[in-house]
């Protein structure tokens, strides 16, 4: 197991290194990043001065090494919009995004897992059909539309919840968390349903039935355990994609997190912040995947032995 983890750790380090290359390359896609940061009417001479000052006239490998050094020391440059180091601007917003992603994950589990189990147990019955239609719709609805519809219904018409922002504590997180979590809940539900159906068809479940165990016990104690193992990996991946999905949900609800910050920073051409967020989100993904793999190893002895 130690060898496996070491290998995964090595892969993660390589991935993070690759992420720095990709971010750097994308930022230089149009040639001179200064063009992205100033208005199109800026005179050529001024742009030349800026490029020189910011080091964009140096050879690309030299620029990349400087970028890499910056990343390793947590220096992503200065956000000229906030006039602060980009990293601290981003970290200031991180808790809001993390709490939103956690709340969305909670909704994803609370909705997706019971729905998946019910759907599998009541296979081909009415409740199964309803859940499957809802799950499919959940995967087809764009988050920004779902968010707007929820605002219209619960905030504008019914006045139950605020339309956006984060000023009302728990009340203001409900709609964004639901919007963000529904897609993942639908994904988990569909996966769990097919896993459960497969497990329920296994012979050991027949044995459980034959020896007269109550249905509830068979499902919770014997079937669910096996059906859940791949769900745990999936949940980790979903958490990472929830953080990515925050870009849209936070914009719709005016949630003061990193996702909204990245859209604002792109609009104000604050590319130090954009770079920092893209890099950090990708790193979070790598770290979560690594942790999930370790957890999976600990939970599932079969993997440990391989």
């Amino acid at each position: 197991m130690g060898k496996y983890l070491l290998k995964r750790l090595g892969q993660s380090v390589i991935a993070i290194f690759g992420i720095t290359v990709v971010v750097f390359v994308i930022l230089h896609l149009t040639g001179n990043p200064v063009e992205l940061m100033v208005s199109p009417t800026t005179p050529k001479e001024q742009m030349e001065i800026l490029s020189e000052q910011m080091g964009f006239n140096d050879p690309l490998p030299e620029q990349y090494i400087r970028f890499l050094k910056g990343v390793l020391t947590g220096d992503f440059g200065t956000s000229y919009y906030y006039n602060e180091p980009a990293l601290s601007v981003v970290l200031e917003r991180a808790p809001a995004t993390l709490s939103l992603a956690c709340a969305a994950l909670l909704i994803c589990v609370l909705l997706g897992v019971p729905a998946g189990i019910l759907s599998a147990v009541k296979r081909n019955k009415l409740s199964d059909a309803i859940i499957r239609v809802l799950a499919l719709l959940g995967q087809c609805m764009p988050a920004f539309w779902l968010g707007i519809m929820l605002i219209i219904l619960f905030a504008v018409k019914l006045h139950w919840l605020p339309t956006g922002g984060a000023d009302e504590g728990l009340r203001s997180i409900i709609l964004p968390a639901f919007t963000l979590g529904l897609f993942s809940a639908a994904t988990i539900c569909r996966l769990l349903r097919s896993n459960m159906i497969e497990v329920l068809g296994k012979e050991y479940i027949d044995v459980c039935r034959a020896k007269g165990l109550p249905a509830r016990k068979i499902i919770t104690k014997h079937a669910l355990k096996n059906a859940m193992s791949s769900i745990i990996t999936m949940l980790g991946m979903q958490f990472a994609s929830l953080i990515g999905g925050s870009v849209i949900t936070e914009t719709v609800f005016g949630w003061p997190g990193v996702g909204r910050l990245v859209v604002q920073s792109i609009t104000s051409s604050d590319f130090a912040v954009v770079e920092c967020i893209v890099f950090l989100m990708a790193v979070v993904f790598v770290v979560i995947n690594f942790v999930v793999d370790v957890l999976y190893c600990v939970i599932n002895p079969r993997v440990r032995l391989q």
Binding site: W145, I151, I243, F285
Partner: protein, 286 residues
């Protein structure tokens, strides 16, 4: 793949969900093709006297504007019809770009192995670390908004799954005896890949393509919604929704239709994809 057209049609007819998918997709295609004929107004024509009207069944409606008008008095139905064109073009072209890049990369990685494989697969791993929307938004912000760029972004963000799939399939096929036989009779690598391997993996590629297409429709809408899609003078569903958001308190109707169009399109493509998977390759796990 030796199933004739009649067989395919029969299977599709028997699948209720597949049929619904086909009908939804056909409606979108027809709307896009015949938008100039179907649309009652010019989608860009402003009529400030009749702005922010509700659909004809609601109270504040305006005769002639079936689904109402937006904040500049433009006819929503006409804009929706024209909007389907962008969706369709980006979905088709993006899927083709992503599919070609992905299949070529997958072929290279699977067939040549060694360092080619290592590099391409590391690229795949790295790309999968980036959240889909964020990567698309970042590239869009750097490249600027144009139809070509959105298609390019759709391709860049979707090639990975084809590459993985094709690589895996090729790894198992290239060891087969018939490939060995072709090589022994002097067939070139290109010949082996194009004439003997690709036809064998075309069905899973088609299945992935439909599922990726649904994702591309969502991506294009998201980019437009965030303001980084196609240029502002082309009506798109995503942008209509983002404009409608400003009038959410006064004109909620305006928000409903564009989102409904996106959802139904994605639903149609997904349903068709699910049926295709069951029909072509039931074992495929995607």
């Amino acid at each position: 793949m030796k199933k004739g057209f009649l067989n395919t049609w029969d299977s599709l007819r028997r699948s209720k969900t597949g049929m619904i998918g086909l009908i939804l997709v056909l409606v979108v295609i027809l709307c896009a093709l015949f938008a100039p004929v179907l649309a009652p107004y010019d989608p860009l024509a402003q009529d400030l006297m009749n702005k922010l009207k509700d659909p004809i069944w609601a109270a504040r409606s305006s005769a002639g504007h079936i689904l109402g008008t937006d904040q500049l008095g433009r006819d929503i139905l006409s804009r929706l019809l024209y909007g389907s064109r962008v969706t369709l073009i980006v979905a088709l072209a993006g899927t083709i770009v992503g599919g070609i890049v992905g299949v070529v990369m997958g072929c290279l990685a699977g067939y040549y192995g060694k360092w080619v494989d290592a590099i391409i697969m590391r690229l795949v791993d790295i790309q999968l670390c980036f959240p889909f929307t964020l990567l698309a938004l970042f590239i869009a912000a750097v490249l600027g908004s144009s139809l070509g760029n959105v298609i390019l972004i759709a391709g860049i963000t979707s090639w990975v799954r084809y590459a993985r799939l094709v690589r895996g399939e090729i790894l198992s096929i290239k060891e087969m005896e018939y490939v060995e036989a072709i090589r022994a009779t002097g067939g070139s690598d290109a010949r082996i890949i194009f004439y003997h391997i690709l036809p064998n993996i075309i069905s899973p590629v088609i299945v992935i393509a439909t599922l990726e297409m649904a994702k591309i429709v969502l991506m294009e809408a998201s980019l437009s919604f965030l303001g980084y899609g196609v240029p502002i003078n082309i009506p798109t569903w995503g942008r209509m929704l983002s404009e409608a958001r400003d009038n959410i308190l006064t004109n909620p109707w305006q928000c409903i239709f564009p989102g409904l169009c996106i959802t139904l399109t994605v639903l149609g493509v997904n349903l068709l994809g699910d049926w295709l998977r069951d029909y072509l390759d039931p074992k495929l796990d995607v």
